[in-house]
Structure formats: C-alpha cells, structure tokens
Symmetry: C2
Subunit: 218 residues, 2 copies
Amino acid sequence: MQVSRHDQKLEFILRTAARIFAEKSYHSTSMRDISRATNVSLAGLYHYCRSKEELLFLIQDNCFGRVLERLEQQLQQVDAPVVKLRIFIENHLSFFAANMAEMKVLSHEAESLRGDLHAHVSTRKDNYTKLARKILQEVQELTENRVVDLTVATYALFGMMNWIYNWYDPQGKLGVHELAQHLTQLFLGGFSPGLLLEPVTTTMRIENLSIWTHGLNG
Amino acid sequence: MQVSRHDQKLEFILRTAARIFAEKSYHSTSMRDISRATNVSLAGLYHYCRSKEELLFLIQDNCFGRVLERLEQQLQQVDAPVVKLRIFIENHLSFFAANMAEMKVLSHEAESLRGDLHAHVSTRKDNYTKLARKILQEVQELTENRVVDLTVATYALFGMMNWIYNWYDPQGKLGVHELAQHLTQLFLGGFSPGLLLEPVTTTMRIENLSIWTHGLNG
DNA sequence: GGCTGGTTCGAACGTTCGTTCGGATTCTAG
DNA sequence: CTAGAATCCGAACGAACGTTCGAACCAGCC
C-alpha cells in the first residue's frame, strides 16, 4: 500500500503530539510545543490539520479505529464467551501497552473535544463499551452465580484496564501477557466464580489462549 | 469549633472551583471562570489564595486529608483483613460519591501540580496506596490461592474505584452501598477466591459489615 | 466622629495562546 | 526547462490568560 509523503508526515506529527499531550495534557500543550518537537514551523502545522482540536481528534479516532480493527479480526471464528473475554482484555491491554501515549490521551482527554468531534468519538466508545458488555453478558449466562451487576462489572473492567497508564511500565519486568493474565483472572474470578477457579484448568486454558493472543504487539 | 468568615468563604471558593475543574479540567478553567461562578472579583480571589495552582492544591490536599481521617477512624479497632478491605472500599467509594467533583479532580488532575505542591500530594497518595497494598497483603495471606500479583491487584482495585467518575451517578438508582458491595464482591472473588464465595455467608458478612460502614455519607 | 485591619474590586500589566496571511521554497508532471 | 501544485515559514493578529496594584469599602473599637 502506497503511503504518501503527506500522510507519513501527518502520522509523525500525530505521534509526536500524542506524546506531548500524554506528558502534559492537551490543554496545557501549545501548538508551539508541537512545532518545537516536530521541527515543523508553527504555520507549517496548519498544512496538516485545521486546528489543534483536530489533532486531538485524529489521534483519538485513529487509535480507536486500530483497536477496533484488531479486535474484530481476533474475534472472528471465536464462539466461547470466556475466550472472547480473554481476547478482548488481551487486545485492549496489548494495544494500550504498545501505544501508551495515544491510549492515555484517549482515556484521559475524552471530554476535551467539543461538538461533532466529541460526538463521533463518543459513539465509537459507546459501541466498544456495548461490545464488552455483551461479551460479559454471555459469560454471565454460562453460570448460575450472578451476584455482580452487569453495568458495574463492565465499568469496573474498563477501570482496571484503563487505569494502567497511571502505573504500568511497558518496558518493566511485568510483560503485557502476564498483566492480561492477572487481570483476566482477577476479573473473571469475581465476576463468574467457578469458570476459572480450578488452578490447573485455568493455567491450561490461558496457555492455550495465548495461541490466539500472541503477536498483538508492534 | 469557630470557623472564621475568611475560612468559610475560602471553602466556598474551593468547592466552586472544584466543580468547574471537574467540569472542564484544571488547565482550561480560567480564574475568570471561577470569579464569575463565585461572584468574587478576579482580584478578590487572590485575597484567598496565592495562585490558581494553590487552589488546585488546597482542593486536593483537603480532600485527601478528609478521606484519610475518616479511614483511620473507621479502621480503629478492626483486625480482620477482609473487614478492613471492605471498610477501605466503602470509605473510598462513599467519599467519592459524596464529593464527586473534588475526587474527580484528585484522580484526574494528579499531575497538574508542579514542584513542592505536587510532591506533597504525591506523598499522601503513596501512603494511601501503601495502606491499601498492606491490607490486600493481609487478605492474601489468609488463603493459599495466591494467583494474582499484589501490585497488579492493588492498582486494579484503584482503577475500578477511581474510574467511577466516568459513569457513576450518585443520584441514580444504584446506591453507594450496593456499588461498594458489588465491587468488593468482584474484587475479592478474583483476588482471594473462597473468602467470599459462599452466597449465604457472603450476604451475612456484608450485612453485618454495614454496621461499620453506614453513616459515611454527608 | 476617627482609626485600623481585613476585604473588595476596576483597570491594567506583560505574556502566551491559536490561528492566519502573503510570499518563499521545493517538488513534480509535461 | 517550465509551469503549477504542494510544502513551508516569518511575522503578525486579536483574544484570553494569570497576576498585580492602588484605591475604595466596611466592620468593630477608641
């Protein structure tokens, strides 16, 4: 696929902008900061975007698009709800770890967009949330022990996952795969006790699952 | 206790500022916004604080102080780790729900402070996190099934709890007490399977616990 | 009445912000 | 080689920002 010089440079600008937005937040980043970091003149930036707000939108929208694309691809040909859940978590976390800046911006600057741009990203986020909720519902229907509210569980799962930008170091000792394993264990154990509780079976299931979930990074 | 006119007005300014910071973020809130919302002139605000940054600091520090004070008071005379955990979660969530704006600012604008002010709040946050971690460790030592990493579990718990500013409505149908119940169930079930798994015992324990945890709001 | 110390504010300061504009430079197709 | 398009940028715009200053105000006490 041919990628034009224009698109390449835009992508570079978006990556750099995302890094700075993640470091010091959208509102306290100036176009001059981005100009300095990209070595593109202040006026030159406006050849690649209409406004600072569009930069934020493009970062968020591209990021979401890529997460969704990978997820749908991974979920094809999978039926078992628990496997779906595991794939959902692994996909979310591995993408998060590989694109820490963009995902932090996506989680942290959700309400910095206004009007149509905000509505557009919000709709995507809603669909993503609904998909998670649907998977959780399927998982819940496998067992009779439904003590935790579905809505609470859905947002708790997103809280667990999205909070990692506050502490997780992708270069550190704990790999993404183990992180996903721990969080899945933690969530599923409380959400549907019994499904993942037998240690041996658990380990086996998770190891088998890694066939599906490896190769997500990069 | 005598509260001076000065302190009363400062508190009012802080409450209002917290509300606006929560609505549109610290960096995109101007002193003129706060002036407008409080009916205190722009210059008048500076009679009650040295700078906009100090406003943010006072909000965060007061908020943290009150959470810690309540927590320590609640934790006195309690030994059972599971009860401690339950109290910790209930205290955190009920305070969060009763002070949504301040707690959102505390969670969301953690890195908006610089220098000493940032260091001061960070230290408090560290102590709070360490306390949670210690409680979790005590809980973990009650059982032999220690499959989830302690660090991951600690941050997952905070993620679950702090994420609520993205979705929870304190005026909605779901009460804080039930929310805390669901999240405790969810977390503990995955973290220490077996401790809370028998439905009847669970319900009884939680109902008994409500003796300790009622009266946190307001 | 006058005096004092806390409170209030209109007006302005210097700075930085997002954005624009006209023209210079570089690339590309014929 | 050349024309036209794409890319780039120095300089400037008006607006908004956090903060300051000096003067006005007001309560309580002599």
